[in-house]
């Protein structure tokens, strides 16, 4: 994770890195390793910021991850694209919440509740 320079990577490469990070976060949760999860979260935030700053908002590159078989990757991608593809992203989050695949289903449920209550305003 060290030394990632998002500006040097293509959209597709950043999306791939984002997916690998989601898989690693999924494993970190199973190992009760919140420190590792949070380190990866910071890197994913950099990736999102980089994509968002590119012409036309390149976060759309993450939409391809909606079909990823890892639930954490799907959840991360859907939450990161809520502001650019609200309906599609929400459907993904609804699917994850109803999948009962925990812990991702739990966080997805919290996400829907916070969206509906106006407590979470995606940017």
């Amino acid at each position: 994770m060290k030394g990632l320079n998002p500006a040097s990577l293509t959209d597709a490469e950043l999306a791939e890195r984002f997916a690998q990070n989601g898989i690693a976060q999924s494993e970190a949760l199973l190992r009760n390793s919140s420190k590792r999860f949070n380190r990866i979260f910071d890197e994913n935030s950099k990736i999102i910021d980089e994509l968002k700053g590119r012409p036309g908002d390149a976060r759309s590159a993450l939409i391809s991850l909606y079909g990823h078989r890892n639930y954490q990757v799907r959840l991360n991608a859907a939450q990161a694209t809520l502001s650019i593809a609200p309906d599609q992203a929400r459907r993904q989050i609804e699917e994850i919440a109803s999948s009962k695949h925990f812990p991702q289903a739990g966080d997805a449920g919290m996400c829907l509740w916070m969206l509906d209550e106006g407590m979470f305003k995606p940017r």
């Binding site: 949760l29 695949h101 966080d107 449920g109 996400c111």
Partner: protein
């Protein structure tokens, strides 16, 4: 002369004592060596003696391991020390995609708890399990899953129970933890009274793995909480706000309906 003989007798007696002690020590060392050679793990769960399904020793991959009676060891490529859960083993209707992602389970109990937990916590989530509430441990026995999983059967069983049962009890049971709806340590640090934090209205008995999931959620950074953890976000929150979030977490993590 008599005194000299007496001294010799005392010396002989001491020598005999030391020789006996040395003998016992060497016997102990030999037992330790034999146990190590046999790959014996004293903290590994065992089938009680006299049980018709009692464990047996077998040889896999050059070492001796204890397997449940009737265990089928599935060769995983060139790694015969692994057990593979496959579709059809736990549920007849398990042709759902995703089972290929399930990790192989080591026959021998992993030394580190985090390694064990990352395997065990996936079992009730496996897409081919079919969520057979309350029956999963029995099924794992039937298919000859590695014996070390037995210490986690109460946790797996608790996890697959319905939400009503999960929230029903307030006392500690195997596989369950007492969970604070409003997180205990941050609340005490913020000066909320102990009587409130540890009061019966703030406690619920939930499956241990659910307890870990919710605690993990509180500890990890989240885009919905300004990219800090819910625990940090709620630091200045009042009791009602904390309780609302705590109750929603129980709901969406499948503990309460």
């Amino acid at each position: 002369m008599e005194a000299q003989i007496r001294n010799y007798e005392i010396s002989l007696s001491r020598l005999s004592y030391h020789a006996a002690a040395l003998h016992v020590l060497l016997a102990g060392r030999r037992i330790q060596w034999l146990l190590r050679k046999a790959n014996f793990h004293p903290d590994e769960p065992r089938v009680p003696a006299g049980n018709p399904d009692g464990g047996q020793w077998t040889t896999i991959g050059g070492g001796s391991y204890r397997l449940p009676s009737g265990a089928r060891v599935t060769r995983v490529g060139d790694r015969p020390h692994l057990f593979r859960l496959r579709p059809g083993m736990l549920d007849e209707d398990d042709d759902l995609p995703g089972f290929e992602d399930f990790p192989d389970i080591p026959i021998v109990r992993p030394r580190h708890a985090t390694d064990r937990h990352s395997i065990v916590r996936r079992i009730p989530m496996a897409p081919f399990v079919g969520r057979p509430a309350g029956t999963l441990p029995r099924k794992l026995e039937e298919i000859g899953a590695p014996a070390w999983l037995r210490e986690y059967y109460p946790h797996i069983d608790a996890y697959t129970q319905g939400p009503e049962l999960q929230a029903g009890a307030r006392s500690s049971r195997p596989g369950y933890d007492i969970h604070h709806i409003v997180e205990k340590t941050p609340a005490l640090e913020e000066g909320f009274p102990k009587s409130l934090v540890n009061g019966p209205d703030n406690l619920v008995s939930i499956p241990r793995f659910k307890h870990w999931e919710i605690t993990g959620w509180y500890q990890t950074k989240n885009p919905k909480f300004e990219s800090i953890s819910p625990r940090m976000f709620l630091t200045k929150g009042d009791w009602q706000a904390r309780r609302m979030i705590g109750m929603k977490a129980l709901k969406y993590y499948g503990v309460l309906q």
